[in-house]
């Protein structure tokens, strides 16, 4: 990398906040999708908005691409380096402002861990509602970039519903404020288009976020079903009755097997095809009636297990099993591809049947641990990357599952983003004209395409050159 540029970066940040040694850079070669790897040219750690702006300006002027990065827990390669790029790592920006209790918002730095924000305001009986399963590690900046979801977004909405205002450094180094703490700024919804832009529109340096009251009462129910169809039908019935639970998750038998083998063993029943984890929250009055109705629906759909969490400890255990399930898959296989396609709820029975059929056909063990309430699937394809033939089958199975989801009226990504992982499928969802509108909007923010290039939109002109990083793994998106 250009020595002059490195010198300038070191001047702005200090020696120890600029990494260039290969053994340091290797740590940052991927996000949570280990399948895609790219070693960055450097990793830099700015401390505040002033440093972020100067760093971005230096890189912009030198024509060097850069990639904003939080905790690197992403599941689509969004914060993975691109060839020749510098990672702008936000983990030093962990300040949390004074909460505005009356008006229920707070400002915080992009490097704040999602769960830490909720912990910082829990004494006010408030929390930050978006709860991705990665929340113990993922940062606000990453949540904003990916419009993170989580089990409770069924009732509370995704990250975009909780971002009021942002201070961002645009890709040319300009600092600007968009949005409003009062939630409805005049003009175009710049915050709305920025959330979910996967780090391609600039770098968030301050987020003003909505705080939500912690529910006064919570009831968590575990329902076990011997037939998968019954579990899916129960999901439809619950929603069909007009009940919007706070969360409605499904874990299938293979998922349960992994969880129960791991340190997150939650006491899930073993002799079922799937469990539903249903959570109701709100004011205590009326919760019992709703709970009873859900239990009835369970029974009507032949639930073999109906169990309520007796206390907060048991509730946490049941949730830990679900939230840590992806990691628990390590008990069954060394490698994992997780998908994120979303289908309309009513298509769940059909798509699950199809996923299992594809799994059998390609002989790729596939678990399903997902947000049944909003149709956001997470098929987990287990494999061993040392088995090249298996890798090939996993790629095929993965593609077929995505196509099956699209055929059911679904979409490619419910919460993990497109990153580079799903680039090749974008033209199955959008026409060239649709993509052109997105390109034009992107050009407004990212005119020189230096900010996280090659992510979200297929470039068309050239494909991402995987060979540049010497890694001989085949591309996952197979074309």
């Amino acid at each position: 990398m250009n020595e002059q540029v490195l010198k300038e970066l070191r001047q702005v940040l200090g020696e120890r906040h600029v990494l260039t040694e290969r053994e340091d850079l290797l740590v940052y070669e991927c996000d949570a999708v280990t399948y895609h790897r790219q070693v960055p040219e450097a990793v830099v750690f700015p401390a505040d908005v002033g440093q972020v702006a100067r760093v971005v300006r230096i890189l912009d002027q030198a024509g060097i691409p850069f990639v904003p990065r939080g905790a690197g827990t992403g599941l689509s390669g969004g914060s993975m380096a691109t060839p020749g790029s510098v990672l702008v790592e936000m983990s030093r920006m962990t300040w949390i402002g004074e909460p505005d209790r009356e008006n229920r918002f707070i400002a915080a730095g992009p490097g704040v861990v999602n769960l830490h924000l909720s912990q910082a305001v829990q004494h006010l009986k408030l929390h930050f509602a978006p709860d991705p399963s990665s929340q113990m590690a993922s940062t606000l900046g990453g949540n904003i970039a990916e419009n993170a979801g989580g089990p409770h977004c069924l009732k509370y909405g995704t990250t975009t519903n909780h971002v009021l205002a942002l201070e961002v450094v645009l890709p040319d180094g300009t600092v600007t404020d968009i949005g409003s703490p009062w939630g409805d700024p005049a003009g175009l919804d710049l915050v709305g288009i920025f959330v979910g832009s996967e780090g391609t529109f600039g770098v968030v340096t301050r987020a003003t976020l909505r705080l939500t009251p912690v529910p006064q009462a919570v009831k968590t129910l575990l329902l076990g079903f011997e037939q998968l169809e019954d579990a899916s039908r129960a999901v439809s019935r619950i929603i069909g009755e007009g009940i919007i639970p706070a969360a409605l998750e499904m874990i299938d038998q293979l998922g349960i097997e992994a969880v129960e083998k791991s340190v997150y063993a939650a006491g899930y029943p073993r002799d079922v095809a799937a469990v539903l984890l249903v959570e109701l929250d709100g004011l205590p009055a009326g919760l019992e009636t709703l709970l009873a109705r859900i239990e009835d629906i369970g029974r009507e759909n032949h639930a073999s297990v109906i169990r309520q969490a007796r206390d907060e400890e048991e509730r946490q255990k049941l949730w830990a099993g679900r939230k840590k399930a992806f990691g628990a898959m390590g008990k069954l296989a060394p490698d994992l591809i997780v998908q994120d396609a979303t289908v309309p709820r009513s298509k769940l029975p059909a798509i699950l049947r199809e996923i299992y059929r594809i799994s059998r056909h390609y002989d790729v063990p596939t678990a399903n641990v997902f947000h049944a309430g909003d149709g956001n699937l997470h098929p987990l394809l287990l494999y061993d990357r040392r088995d090249a033939a298996m890798v090939e089958r996993v790629i095929q199975a993965s593609g077929e599952i995505l196509r099956a989801c699209l055929a059911q009226g679904g979409t490619l990504s419910g919460e993990h983003g497109i990153g580079i992982d799903k680039l090749a499928y974008m033209d199955l969802v959008f026409s060239p004209e649709d993509l052109e509108v997105m390109r034009r909007v992107r050009q407004v923010f990212n005119a020189r395409d230096l900010c996280n290039p090659g992510k979200v939109l297929p470039t068309g002109a050239h494909c991402f050159d995987y060979k540049a990083n010497q890694d001989l793994r085949p591309r996952v998106s197979g074309h």
């Binding site: 209790r101 009356e102 008006n103 990916e146 419009n147 979801g149 977004c153 909405g157 300009t174 600007t176 968009i178 409003s180 009062w182 939630g183 409805d184 700024p185 005049a186 003009g187 175009l188 919804d189 710049l190 709305g192 288009i193 959330v195 979910g196 832009s197 439809s236 069909g240 007009g242 919007i244 709100g282 004011l283 009055a285 009326g286 709703l290 979303t342 309309p344 709820r345 909003d374 149709g375 009226g409 679904g410 979409t411 990504s413 419910g414 919460e415 497109i418 969802v429 959008f430 026409s431 004209e433 649709d434 997105m438 034009r440 909007v441 992107r442 050009q443 407004v444 979200v456 939109l457």
Partner: protein, 419 residues
């Protein structure tokens, strides 16, 4: 009834009534044909908020979407409805009600306002506090670009990070970025019951604090309105959900009101409640007025400042000889102020009005608030830009406009920065 005229006059400019395309293809065709002449076009639904925006730069045509008025499909099990942009909101809600579902927005019962128009104008009522804005219910949409290209954005599912969230960019864009033809909207189950509670008193600050207490105690109102009530004031609180939850909350509030001197609680009948709620919402709706020239100002400021802002507005009204009506959507941080000439003959000085509005906008900026001038006489609109957006955010918005509508065909001059 749609006005049966060959033209509409908007801030002194004539807009020909133009065409009523029957479907999306015709919309696309019309826009493509218009490329050569570059005649300004305003997409219009029910025309209930055509007055909204800076004065047009010149004459043009209206593009009526009222023939695209069908509910295409209501998939109740998926809480999803596909509806054309020109469908009146009232018709959409009636269809959804058959399956006990709704789009949770409380707007004037005006039956002409279309879903596309309401989305383009970012319209909402006090229920925004709990339910958010219409854009929070858009899962996907179809938009014809200024050059006639048919495009889509989003999808049919509630969780979607597939490409950029263009739906949020289109919502509230006042017909400036493209012509909406169809939406996939998320629906909600209708609440089992809804009940209002009225809290009455003579001290606006005390009532404002009551509203704050309702929020601080972790209660779950769907909307809160602060308004005048004769010589005194009213806090109307709406609760919705299952009867046990609703009644528990009402009882709880009545209990602590009973212990508070100077304020009292009332449980209106459903008719009284709905009527009073509608009255408060109608303050923000110009069509509800009898057409006299008026000022309609939307103030975005923290709810706690409402009493001071109301006093300022009422004091100004007295000085300027204007009658003031106002309605505060507590919790949504919005205060609507309507002023008209009342019975007097004298026309308030446009300069006096303009300079008050400018000063108000400056004052609000200091607390990151805003003043949007929803309606005003033309002379005032010439001095006071409607939207108040400036700086880098304005530049970004203008650049987005330039890239999507380079010829400046759609609703030119009326949106931010007089663009």
């Amino acid at each position: 009834m749609l006005p049966n005229t060959d033209q509409r006059i908007i801030d002194g400019q004539v807009f020909k009534t133009g065409r009523h395309p029957a479907d999306e293809c015709e919309v696309a065709g019309l826009l493509a044909l218009n490329l050569a002449s570059k005649e300004p076009i305003i997409p219009v639904g029910g025309g209930t908020q055509l007055y909204l925006g800076n004065p047009p730069l010149g004459p043009g045509s209206l593009l009526h979407l009222t023939e695209l008025n069908r509910v295409v499909a209501h998939e109740a099990d998926d809480l999803l409805v596909t509806v054309q942009a020109g469908c009146p909101l009232s018709a959409l809600q009636a269809e959804l009600a058959k399956a006990r579902q709704w789009i949770p927005v409380d707007l004037s019962a005006d039956s002409q306002a279309t879903i596309g128009g309401l989305i383009a104008a970012n319209a909402y009522g006090p229920l925004r506090m709990k339910y958010g804005r219409l854009r929070d219910y858009i899962l996907g949409m179809r938009v014809v670009q200024a050059d006639g290209t048919i495009t889509k954005a989003g999808g049919r599912v509630v969780k979607n990070v597939t490409g950029y969230d263009l739906c949020r960019l289109y919502a509230g864009s006042l017909g400036w970025l493209g012509v909406f033809t169809e939406f996939h909207l998320k629906t909600l189950p209708m609440p089992e019951v809804h009940k209002d509670l009225w809290i009455l008193g003579s001290d606006l600050r005390r009532l404002q604090e009551c509203g704050q207490r309702v929020l601080d105690e972790g209660l779950d109102p769907s909307g809160l309105i602060l308004a005048r009530d004769g010589a005194g004031f009213l806090l109307a609180a709406r609760f919705a959900g299952n009867p046990a939850t609703v009644d528990w909350q009402l009882t709880r509030i009545c209990d602590w009101i009973a212990e508070s001197p100077g304020i009292r609680a009332e449980r209106p009948s459903p008719e009284q409640a709905d009527g009073r709620w509608q009255e408060a919402v109608n303050i923000a709706c110009s069509e509800a007025a009898d057409g006299r020239e008026q000022l309609l100002v939307k103030i975005v400021a923290p709810y706690g400042q409402a009493p001071e802002l109301v006093k300022e507005a009422e004091d100004f009204g007295v000085r300027a000889g204007l009658t003031v009506h106002w309605s505060c959507y507590a919790g949504a941080h919005v205060l609507w102020i309507r002023m008209d000439r009342g019975d007097g003959d004298s026309r308030p000085d446009a300069d006096i009005v303009s300079s008050w509005l400018q000063q108000l906008r400056r004052q609000l900026r200091g607390i990151r608030g805003e003043m949007v001038l929803h309606q005003a006489p033309l002379s005032v609109k010439h001095s006071v830009e409607v939207w108040g957006v400036e700086g880098k955010p304005l530049e970004l918005m203008q650049e987005i406009k330039r890239r999507l509508d380079p010829r400046g065909i759609l609703n030119p001059g009326r949106f931010v920065g007089r663009n």
